[in-house]
Structures are given as structure tokens and as C-alpha cells.
């Protein structure tokens, strides 16, 4: 893997000697795929048929190497391997010769469904499966056409295998040999795709293309970028969101050798002070020496203790209605002994990707170049252009490999890029890398919102929930963003109620509503978004109901799930089968916890073997069964689930909360906000995939929702207590 710094130039230079075609590939087929996260397109409209020129995605080089361009950020989820697999499969390419690069920002690389270039909603494979298949098949057809022309044979006399076209009479030619001729062929308007039974790569366990450079230190992330003359910038942010600078004494800061400039900049909310220096450490020393008096008078000082009380009060009355079915008076017929009223509380969570946030910009007056590990290239490019007074096309945007993200690099207001652009504007001609330190990140907002849930349940004679009244209180992630028009309906932010309002459990009288108070804390989607808290509430309550009914937790779920919820029935069956051997022979002091949840089109069932060690849950083993549709790379899916359940444990960590007092975030770094270490994560995770021929859905987010409820359900069996407030401070 090389960096993408000179990618645009490389593409230009390559055009004469490498395969070059232009194509009209209709994106229409994609519309039929599952989608629960529609963004940029207007509701009800279908994406315009889109031209995907193969030369923007595939280059066949004279040495036989096949470069496949990936239209998304790679930040761990594996698309830099799986999207090339899809294209290479239809192309019949020799996989050992395939290399991959991340695309810069450009129209052609926009998500076919979202209409912007982005990673989110576990949509990478779901939305680009058809697109990459067609690109591969068309490129292959043109290579065959070149051979047909050269050999004077018919297409049906040729076949392809491992980057070679074979013809009658023992004729053969490599793709590299045919590339020039292929480039002169017309692009087929339609192309026949392989029958899935003929896939050679899709469905097989293919190792990542980016492993070696990530293991020897050679892979360059955005933070590793080094350009001639580059400076490093840090920004002092106000201690309360939206604060402004009342007075600034930068004498001591400017006295640090290597400091180049100190100046006030506008923030998305409020104002900050930028320090620009030759090196990171110099910038940090200088920032530490700034004497800033902040004006915090005009902004709300959020306090999570007070918010908790306010949210609990709000939850006592119904909010805006997300779903209402059945008879809302049905509770009156339930005997008081068969009623439950429960309250849950969830804290703010920081994403804390391992690579701290950063963006590098060089502004040259009439154009700019940007290097960033972004999940939101189109949005960030537009924001930078706006700050610099340029058109988006004047901002070249290179996608850098990113060290994690989990949503944190997809920010509707592009606040990091706007800061970087404001600094680059002043440092005209000089590349400046803006770095957010870990402290900036932990304290900088854009958290998973804090939530309170209040649920009233009426239990029927059969032990199943007959009435369910559910109120969810939390800030709207989407209100005030361009995405609100799509995903905020009847005053309900769908990302706040997903996983509850659309539950697959068959509850006859069912009412879900939401309150979205405005709070001066920036919030953002955190891997699996609303499912993080909704799955926890649903799956712990269903478990509690099963216990109360003295039913097996798997059998109870099967009985309560709608028949048509195949994406949960099948994983439950598979999990039941695969966990049976250990589940029924748990050592003393261990307990089983189960859960199941569908998100982003992927159904998951989870069984966890848990004991208590040192007053913390010890997760000895987890069995996962998953139905993602076609499993493009089962190895990636296995890895995503093994690691994704560890990520999910973030919610249970004793120090797994962001809290605010008088407007100030109380945690600063990993000492105060602590993600899971190896000791906290499951020791073993076995992952089983339901065979499927359905369209592929995503696997980036679906691992996260299932694990916390499964672990807590096991703890409840061990202690007899129910855990309704996270983080899990004590057991």
C-alpha cells in the first residue's frame, strides 16, 4: 500500500499506457438492496443512473499488477480488501497481482445510494457490491473483446482465468498484453454477471491486503504525513462548548522556540486559539503556556447530574410518537402484579479512535490540497472550500488511511476540517497539519448522546409482553444537520429509536415515543448509533421476561419473534446449535447470557459465558451467529465480530462514561475514559455465518449492540440483580 498523495497525478499519467475505458453502468439495481439509512437522496426518489468509468476504478499495469481503487475510507472495517475482491472476482483477475488504493474525493466515488462519498450505516458492501461486480464484469468483457478482435474468434470461444484470456487452439494472452486493445473497445451497455456458484473469491476467506505495512510500521496514516515545510497546529478550545476568548496573553507561548504563529480562530461554536509551530511537541508546549481568559457567559453549562434528573422527569410523559399500534388502554386490563415499570440510563460516550483526529491543508490562494482520514469526504471538502472561499472542485482531497473512527470521522459540521482550513488560510502557501490531542478528543464533544429510557410493560397470561409503552429521552443527533429532512420524522430522530421502534418482537399493544431536549453538548453517531442503547434495553427486558416466565431465553425469544424475522430466527437457531456443547456444561460460578438483535440489515445472535472476577465481568467465551446475506469475505466478518464485541464492551467499562460538571467534561484522557483492554475483552469468540444468497448487508456495526446485553443478562443470573444504568460501575 502506498499513500495516495500523488494519486491524481498518477491517474493522469497512467491513462495512455493502462487500460482506459469509459462506461455507463446503471446504478438502478442497487435500489432493490436493503437500506435503512437513506441520506443524501430525497426520500422516495431513486438515485440517478450513474456513470462509473472503469478507468477510475481499475488499472491493468504492464507488469500485470491490477490496481483497484476503493471508493471509501479504510479504517479497519476491511473494504480495502473486500471491494477489490468483488471486482476481481468478476474480472477473473489473478488475486496475487491485485493491489488497492483509497480514492480521493470525486463525484465518481460517491456512494451509489447515499449520493455523497462516505462510510456509514454499514453500507460499504451493501451499496457497492453490485457496482464493483459490474465494473469487474465490464472490464473483463472488454479484455475478451480485444482478444476476439486480435485472434479473429468468437467471444464464446474464449474464457478467462487468473488474468489470462484463453481462446481456441491453445491461444492465450495475459490481461496486461490485452490492455491496450481493450482500452479501444466500446464499453458494453449491459454485462452478464457471474452466477454466485461461480464466484472464486467472493465467499472465501481472503486475508487483508493491508496487513504487512500495518505490521512493520511502514503504512502512513494521516497523522504520519510529512510534507516539505509542513507546520503543526494545535487549537486551544474553550472549556465549555461555545465559549469565546475574552482575553489572550500569548507572550509565553510565543517565547517557545519553534513557534510560528498564535491567533484566534472561529470554531463551529464559539472561538479558539490556534498555535502553529514547526513540530508537535513545540506546539503543545506553546499551547500549554497560553493564558486565555474565556467568556463562558452566553452558553449553557451542561451538567450530566442535572440532565439525568431532567431526562427522568421527561420520560414520565410520552414524547413524539415513533410507533403506536394496538390498544393503548390495554394496560388497564393487566393485573398490577403483572406490570413492570423500569428506567434505564446511558451516558455520553466518546469514540476515541486510536489515531487522534487530524487534517492537513495547504492553501495556495486559488486552490487547496487536503489530506485526511475522512468518512465524509464530500462534506469535508465542501466545508473546507467554504472556509477558504473556493469551489469544492478547487479543493483536492486525498483520503488517508485512518486509525479507527467508529463514526467520529463522519461529522456533519466538519468542525476539524473547518479549524484546519481557518489556520491554513492564514498560513497561505504552507502545509499545516492540525492535530487534536487525545485530551482534545476526549473533551471535545461529538459524543454518543446520553439517554434515559422508561418502559412500562404489561405481561399477558402466557408470560409474553402484551402491552409495551416506551419513552426514550436524548438529544437528536440529526437535528440541525442536512440529514434531518430524511431521518427526523414527526419530531422523532430515527437514530434515537432504531432497534426499539422497529423491533421484530411481536408485541400487540406497542407504543414508542421520544423527547429530544436541546443540550449544549455536540453529539454524533457512535458505531451502531441508536442500537447501542436500544438493543440493551430490549434484550435485557426480554431476558427478564423470559426469566419471569421461567422460560429458556432462546426459546422465549423464538416464540416472541415474528415469523418473518428470518434474519433473527436463523442466527438464533445457529447460535443454539453451536453453543450447545459449552452452554450446557458451564463451570460453577459461570452463567450464560444471550441476546439477539438486527441492525443495518444484519441479524445477530449472541451467547456469552461470563463469571465475576475482581468485581468485574470476565467473559470467557462468546458464540456469535450472524446472517449478513451473502458473506463476501467470511474472514473479515469473523474478525469484525470478534473485535466488534470487544468494542461493544466499551459500554460496560467502569470508566466508560463522559460526564460534565458545570459545562466542563470531567474526563481528559484514557485514564478517566477507559476503553476495553485485553483483560476486559472476551477471551474467545467463535463466529458462525448463516449461509445465504440474499444481497449482502454490512458487518461493521452489527457486532456492537448484542454483547453488552448478553453479558449483563449473564451477570443477572449470577447476582440476581438487574443492571439498568451504564456504565457498569459496580456489580
Amino acid at each position: 500500500m502506498t499513500t495516495t498523495i500523488n494519486f491524481a497525478n498518477k491517474l493522469q499519467h497512467s491513462r495512455r499506457s493502462f487500460l482506459r475505458v469509459s462506461a455507463t453502468a446503471a446504478g438502478g439495481l442497487l435500489v432493490s438492496l436493503y437500506l435503512d439509512f437513506p441520506l443524501a437522496a430525497q426520500e422516495g426518489t431513486q438515485p440517478q443512473p450513474k456513470v462509473y468509468p472503469p478507468d477510475a476504478f481499475v488499472q491493468i499495469k504492464p507488469d500485470g499488477k491490477i490496481l483497484i481503487i476503493v471508493n471509501r475510507l479504510e479504517f479497519g472495517q476491511g473494504v480495502q480488501t473486500s471491494l477489490p475482491m468483488i471486482l476481481a472476482d468478476e474480472l477473473d483477475a489473478d488475486w496475487s497481482q491485485v493491489i488497492a488504493e483509497l480514492a480521493p474525493a470525486a463525484d465518481v466515488y460517491k456512494d451509489p445510494l447515499f449520493g455523497i462519498q462516505m462510510v456509514g450505516g454499514s453500507g460499504s458492501i451493501a451499496h457497492s457490491f453490485q457496482q464493483y461486480r459490474e465494473l469487474g464484469a465490464k472490464t473483463r468483457a472488454m479484455l475478451v473483446a480485444a482478444a476476439v478482435e486480435q485472434w479473429k474468434v468468437r467471444p464464446d470461444e474464449c474464457h478467462t482465468e487468473a488474468s489470462v484470456v484463453h481462446g481456441p487452439g491453445g491461444k492465450s494472452a495475459t490481461y496486461a498484453e490485452l490492455a491496450e486493445g481493450a482500452a479501444k473497445q466500446p464499453v458494453p451497455a449491459t454485462v452478464r454477471l457471474k452466477h454466485p456458484s461461480r464466484f472464486r473469491l467472493v465467499g472465501t476467506r481472503v486475508r487483508r491486503l493491508d496487513s504487512r505495512p500495518k505490521c512493520d510500521g511502514s503504512l502512513k496514516f494521516g497523522l504520519d504525513l510529512d510534507l516539505p515545510g509542513m507546520k503543526t497546529a494545535l487549537v486551544a478550545h474553550p472549556p465549555v462548548f461555545g465559549g469565546r476568548v475574552k482575553s489572550l496573553d500569548d507572550t509565553a507561548a510565543r517565547g517557545v522556540a519553534g513557534v510560528r504563529d498564535v491567533f484566534e480562530i472561529p470554531l463551529v461554536k464559539g472561538r479558539g486559539v490556534a498555535v502553529v509551530a514547526d513540530k508537535f511537541w513545540t506546539a503543545k508546549q506553546a499551547r500549554d503556556r497560553l493564558k486565555i481568559e474565556w467568556d463562558l457567559s452566553a452558553v449553557e453549562h451542561a451538567d450530566t447530574g442535572q440532565l439525568s434528573a431532567k431526562y427522568k422527569e421527561l420520560a414520565r410523559t410520552p414524547g413524539n410518537v415513533a410507533v403506536s399500534r394496538g390498544d393503548q388502554k390495554a394496560m388497564d386490563a393487566i393485573a398490577p402484579a403483572n406490570r413492570m415499570v423500569v428506567e434505564y440510563e446511558f451516558p455520553y460516550l466518546a469514540h476515541a479512535p486510536m489515531e487522534p483526529l487530524n487534517t492537513t491543508i495547504r492553501f495556495d490562494g486559488d486552490r487547496a490540497e487536503t489530506w485526511a482520514g475522512s468518512q465524509f469526504q464530500t462534506v469535508d471538502q465542501m466545508a473546507i472550500a467554504e472556509v477558504l472561499g473556493l469551489k469544492p472542485e478547487q479543493v483536492t482531497f486525498y483520503t488517508e488511511m485512518a486509525g479507527g473512527g467508529f463514526g467520529r470521522r463522519a461529522v456533519p459540521d466538519s468542525h476539524v476540517q473547518r479549524e484546519a482550513a481557518a489556520i491554513a488560510k492564514r498560513l497561505r502557501g504552507t502545509p499545516v497539519k492540525l492535530v487534536w490531542t487525545r485530551e482534545d478528543d476526549v473533551q471535545g464533544g461529538y459524543y454518543r448522546p446520553m439517554h434515559v429510557h422508561r418502559v412500562e410493560i404489561g405481561i399477558g397470561q402466557d408470560g409474553m409482553p402484551a402491552v409495551w409503552r416506551h419513552v426514550i429521552v436524548g438529544q437528536s443527533i440529526l437535528r440541525g444537520t442536512p440529514f434531518a429532512a430524511m431521518l427526523v420524522k414527526n419530531g422523532v430522530d430515527e437514530t434515537a429509536v432504531e432497534g426499539t421502534a422497529d423491533t421484530h418482537y411481536n408485541i400487540p399493544n406497542f407504543h414508542v415515543s421520544a423527547h429530544h431536549p436541546a443540550v449544549n453538548v455536540p453529539v454524533l453517531w457512535w458505531r451502531s448509533v441508536g442500537h447501542t442503547h436500544n438493543a440493551f434495553v430490549m434484550e435485557t427486558l426480554i431476558d427478564e421476561l423470559a426469566t419471569r416466565a421461567k422460560a429458556d431465553p432462546i426459546a422465549y425469544r423464538r416464540r416472541l419473534l415474528k415469523d418473518e424475522a428470518g434474519k433473527l430466527h436463523r442466527p438464533l437457531d445457529l447460535m443454539d446449535e453451536k453453543s450447545a456443547a459449552w452452554r450446557t456444561k458451564l463451570p460453577k460460578g459461570h452463567a450464560l447470557g444471550v441476546s439477539c438483535h438486527e441492525s443495518f440489515g444484519t441479524g445477530v445472535a449472541c451467547a456469552a459465558d461470563v463469571s465475576i472476577e475482581n468485581k468485574r465481568p470476565k467473559i470467557h467465551r462468546v458464540t456469535i451467529a450472524v446472517d449478513p446475506g451473502i458473506a463476501v469475505n467470511p474472514l473479515t466478518i469473523e474478525s469484525q465480530f470478534q473485535a466488534g464485541v470487544a468494542f461493544g464492551i466499551s459500554q460496560l467499562m467502569a470508566k466508560g462514561a463522559i460526564t460534565l460538571k458545570d459545562g466542563r467534561v470531567e474526563q481528559r484522557n484514557f485514564d478517566g475514559y477507559t476503553p476495553p483492554y485485553i483483560i476486559d475483552a472476551p477471551v474467545a469468540v467463535d463466529v458462525h455465518i448463516v449461509p445465504s444468497s440474499e444481497a449482502p448487508a454490512g458487518c461493521g456495526e452489527p457486532p456492537v449492540p448484542v454483547i453488552s446485553p448478553a453479558v449483563v443478562n449473564a451477570l443477572a443470573r449470577l447476582t440476581g440483580k438487574r443492571y439498568r444504568s451504564l456504565p457498569l460501575v459496580s456489580i
Binding site: S211, G217, F221, L223, W281, G403, S639, G644, I678, I679
Partner: protein, 154 residues
């Protein structure tokens, strides 16, 4: 500014920096060796782990002025080290990495473990790897790769 003579991956290096500069930033910005990563700056995540005098050390909290004569070994030298190479190969064959940002530090900790304890138990692994955060959560595969590397080095 002070001048320091360092030995990095067997090579003599001279840098002129403020004495408080952490070894991490000397490696990354003065010597342009960016395989060692910045994650937290307070020795809480392990992304910056190097071997300092053969001991796995968080380079983000070691001022260059305190390095002295101790040799510094970084991820960039692991391919030439028999244990380092075995660990890297195990990481690749087990498809350990996801985002990969923490893995330089994970590998440096794993190599230090296997050099001192060639046949580590689960408890040894949890102890030696206990300070290395992987936000993606690749711990299950890290455990497997360490055991595989241990077998390979028999």
C-alpha cells in the same frame, strides 16, 4: 535546545531538541520514523511502545534527556529480528490488524514478551499486553497470533 546521541535500531543518531521532548516525538519528527504511534501521551494506550534497553517502554513519557546510552529499538527493526519477524508473520497469517494504528505497539509488546517468556501462558499474555489498547478490539486474534509465533520459534 540540547544535542543528544542516540542509538536507534543499531544506528547512531544525533538530534538537537528541547530536553523535555518525549522520545516518541524525537522518533517521529526528528528521525522521521513514524511507525511508532502517538495515541494518548500519558502511557495509557501503548501505541508508542518501543524497546528501550531491551525493555518494552512507552516512548511518549520518556523525555529524550533520560534515554542516556540505552539502545532504542522500534517497529521498523522488527522485520530483521528473528522474534520480531515471527510475530509479524503470525500477525499477517492470523489477519490480526483492522485499522492497524495500535499494532506497532502491540507487536513491540508481544516481541518483548516472547523474548523474556518464549512459552507464554494466557496470564502472561494478559499481563504483558495489558497496557496496549486496541480500539477496534482485535484482542482475540492477538492472543492467537502470539501463541502461533511462540510455536514458530520453537
Amino acid at each position: 535546545m540540547e544535542t543528544y546521541q542516540l542509538t536507534v535500531n543499531g544506528q547512531p543518531k544525533e538530534v538537537a531538541v528541547d530536553p523535555s521532548t518525549p522520545l516518541l516525538w524525537v522518533l517521529r519528527e526528528e528521525l522521521k520514523m513514524t511507525g511508532t504511534k502517538y495515541g494518548c501521551g500519558i502511557a495509557a494506550c501503548g501505541a508508542c511502545t518501543v524497546h528501550l534497553g531491551a525493555v518494552a517502554t512507552r516512548s511518549c513519557v520518556v523525555p529524550v534527556s533520560l534515554v542516556g546510552k540505552r539502545p532504542i529499538v522500534t517497529i521498523e527493526a522488527m522485520a530483521e529480528d528473528p522474534v520480531g519477524r515471527a510475530v509479524q508473520d503470525a500477525w499477517v497469517s492470523h489477519d490480526v490488524v483492522q485499522c492497524g494504528y495500535c499494532q506497532s505497539g502491540q507487536i513491540m509488546s508481544a516481541v518483548a514478551l516472547l523474548k523474556s517468556t518464549p512459552r507464554p501462558t494466557e496470564a502472561n499474555i494478559e499481563e504483558s499486553m495489558g497496557g496496549n489498547l486496541c480500539r477496534c478490539g482485535t484482542y482475540v486474534r492477538i492472543r492467537a497470533a502470539i501463541k502461533a509465533a511462540s510455536q514458530q520459534l520453537k
